[in-house]
Chain length 102, copies 2
């Protein structure tokens, strides 16, 4: 995952409700579906007290198209009715980056 | 944490080396120190296979000042020699955001 800046990031932070209720299955499906979208660059995710998922995209249009994807709309709706106590979405332009590796 | 866009986010993703070696103590110290910096807005963190820490700042200058903070420079150096197998830092402008709460 080494695109050139600027590109875009969606920071999705969330608190889950209790229990699975199909969440993990849908999360895996959405992860696969996102990867098939035009303009998708990559995704990283970790959950402890809160979950943080950051997805990377070539353009704002690619993000808009993913948000409007029909299967994703169904997942977003179930997110609000079943899976999330709260979430926060931030659309960001990645302006600079650097890396370290041992 | 409800600033007005645009503000800035630093997405720090990392893989840890084995063992603690003082990492958790330093991470807690740096979390407290960051919160005292001018222009600091907030921070969110989760670790599973990878760690994701996102800190939020009022300006790029606030981010530069935090990066150059003396105690933080010591921590950054130990990060490279002791604690991280790899990391990736992305400096981002938060352009839009929305929230959901049950």
């Amino acid at each position: 995952m080494k695109p050139t800046t600027p590109y875009y990031a969606v920071i999705f932070t969330s608190k889950r409700t209790e229990g699975d209720s199909g969440y993990n299955k849908m999360a895996t499906q959405m992860m696969h579906l996102a990867q098939q979208q035009k303009g998708f660059i990559g995704v990283e995710s970790a959950r402890e007290k809160i979950g943080i998922t950051v997805s990377y995209w070539e353009s704002l249009v690619a993000i808009q198209n993913w948000k409007a994807n029909t299967a994703h709309l169904v997942a977003q709706e179930k997110g609000k009715t079943n899976w999330y106590a709260s979430y926060h979405v931030r659309i960001c332009k990645v302006e600079r980056e650097y890396q370290f590796e041992l």
